[in-house]
């Protein structure tokens, strides 16, 4: 069995988490030499990762992250303007997780997510138009305006929601993995959830079955360190989430969620295990959301300084800096991508604005696939 044990946070990462959030316990023996060595080695690793991909692929990763960023910024504006109702959970700050992980799978693989899924839907190939229209509650939305922000679906692209009970998608994803193995395909399932979902029974029940039955599911814990306004430290007894995989004899890895290529590589390793040997993996991907839990979050549970500290490691800025440093893209090329992406988002807004509301008759459709008229034999 190709199993990896959970790698604990490196000294550099632990030091950073400690200094910025006070959440992580830093190793006692962190010294500046070790930190420097780790950072140097991380740089070398990054160089190797960049050289392992063509410039087209790297450009596409950058474009997707930027698209998500601008899309979410516009969603926030539209929400404030009253164009989007209900809840609206933004992905800003976490772009590298979704883009990196989904870049490691095929179009026919499945993705299931929580309610913070606009960015993941974009990364899986859904159009900005269909997602924005869904946010606007329009008939042209990906769920015909019936799902909204928390329930985006696209069957043709293997995007299986958008689920709004914390952890609810984890057994479902275990089930899609069960089904692909049952049907003898080599498809894999990526299941995204926040770290707060790890405290739900659904997480533990699912991991147990996945390893017991060898199901090709990759559990991606996006650890953004807050379950709504409750920090990890206030909610979890064992805070190294990747370690929890040991309880179910599952392979796991700790991943830097601000580094899109690191996420991609870790996911590729997990995908290989899943495709070849039907083995599940738990990835704990450390990230941070730059915005509130939802648009109605007062944000009084964390400091501005903490947010700014993480914004220094903005995944998009880190990646663009690498691209420039390695002469893969110049500033002009980056600007062109930026403009293209902005145009795409503007187009999605126009499309959503101009699209019709669902027909009133839609209220009663899609309740049953096989509606029964009672008494009709």
């Amino acid at each position: 069995m190709s199993k990896q044990t959970a790698a604990p946070p490196s000294a550099a990462q632990a030091e950073e988490q400690q200094s910025s959030t006070g959440v992580m316990d830093a190793p006692a023996d962190v010294d500046s030499h070790q930190l420097r060595r780790e950072r140097d080695s991380a740089k070398e690793q990054q160089k190797a990762r960049l050289s392992g991909l063509g410039s087209d692929q790297l450009t596409e990763l950058y474009r997707q992250m930027l698209l998500i960023r601008h899309f979410e910024e516009k969603s926030a504006e539209a929400y404030v303007a009253g164009k989007i109702g209900g809840f609206c959970h933004l992905y800003i700050g976490q772009e590298a997780v979704g883009v990196g992980a989904i870049s490691a799978i095929r179009k026919d693989d499945y993705v299931l997510a929580s309610y913070r899924e606009h960015g993941l839907a974009l990364a899986k190939g859904m159009s900005a138009r269909s997602i924005m229209a869904e946010l606007f509650g329009k008939a042209t939305g990906c769920s015909k305006g019936k799902g909204g922000s928390m329930h985006m679906f696209d069957k043709s692209l293997g995007f299986l929601g958008g689920h709004a009970i914390v952890g609810g998608q984890i057994p479902l994803a275990t089930g899609t993995a069960f089904a692909t193995k049952y049907q003898g395909t080599d498809q894999v399932t990526l299941c995204f959830f926040g770290e707060a979902a790890v405290n739900q029974g659904a997480f533990h029940e699912s991991l147990n079955m996945a390893q017991l039955w060898k199901l090709p599911c990759i559990y991606i814990c996006e650890n953004n360190q807050y379950g709504m306004g409750t920090s990890l430290a206030r909610a979890m007894s064992l805070r190294d989430i990747a370690q929890k995989a040991c309880a179910y004899d599952l392979a796991s890895e700790f991943v830097d969620g601000m580094d899109v290529l690191a996420v991609r590589e870790a996911t590729m390793r997990a995908v290989e295990r899943a495709r070849k040997d039907y083995l599940p993996t738990l990835l704990e991907i450390r990230t941070y959301r730059f915005m509130g839990h939802s648009m109605s979050d007062p944000g009084n549970y964390r400091t501005r300084a903490e947010i700014e500290k993480y914004q220094e490691r903005d995944p998009i800025k880190l990646f663009s800096a690498s691209l420039i440093e390695e002469n893969i893209l110049d500033q002009k090329a980056l600007d062109e991508i930026d403009q293209k992406v902005r145009d795409e988002v503007e187009d999605s807004l126009r499309f959503a604005e101009e699209s019709p509301l669902p027909d009133a008759q839609e209220l009663y459709t899609d309740v049953y696939a096989n509606p029964i008229e009672p008494g009709r034999k």
């Binding site: 696939a369 008494g375 034999k377």
Partner: protein, 327 residues
Amino acid sequence: MATITIREALNQALREELARDEKVFLMGEEVAEYDGAYKVSKGLLHEFGPKRVIDTPITELGFAGLGIGAAMAGLRPVVEFMTFNFSILATDQIINSAAKMLYMSGGQFNIPIVFRGPGGSAFQVSSQHSQALESWYAYFPGLKVVMPSTPADAKGLLKSAIRDDDPVIFIEQERMYGQKGEVPDEPDFTIPLGVADIKREGTDVTIVARSLMVPLALKAADALEQQGVSCEVIDPRTIRPLDIDTIVESVKKTNRLVVAEESHPICGVNAEISAEIMERAFDYLDAPVKRVSGADVPMPYAKNLENLAIPDVDRIVAAVREVAYLD
């Protein structure tokens, strides 16, 4: 026609549907090597192998959700709850995922799944193992709820439930597995969901009964016939969607209605039927609708108390006499 038990009828339905469609699989606690806690799945592991008949850990929320996910990806799971009491742990997945998936995905993901197992009162197993939950599940649009009362209904309805493209809650009565009856021999015998069955025709009073209450209502009807009262006994068989038209037609004829159930009275299926009849057949009623329900208490253990908690023939007879103004 062969005479078999409800247990055997359900077993036949499962066997036939597993054989008919490779996408169908059975999953649950003790369904495979143990042959089923109530032996409904007897022999199926031997016949279809461990890929199709799967023992689960005791993890109701987990395997209910896994089944729903498998249905999203094209399979047709039959998930057995050892009893429906344990389905309470799985209600998040049944309600928030199975019932709503088609709607909130704008029609993209239907969930063809059957959740089945015994429900209602059992014999002296006290509060947590003896309860009727059909009104919970019937509350939710997106679910279908089926409760058979005879071997033929059990077989025909389970086959239809497995072939249905929506999530079906299929509640078997724990006390009734051994009940015998005739089942048609034809290989593709099914009974459509959503169609009530008139178990006995009559002219004076309509009794609507489901599950365990059906044989009791029929016995009550026998007793009442001796007393000169002709009862029509209707078994809705499917609680959602409810074939209310058949009940309305009967009430138009008899002008009197008794509804019998073993579940608690508050917010129950009887309450729903009563309201529907008031809305649709008020002018035909010669007496207020009379409900006969289980006691509004958790199920007790002591035999004498348990007997008091579950409606019996005498209570149904008394209710019929009341709406007929005989006492």
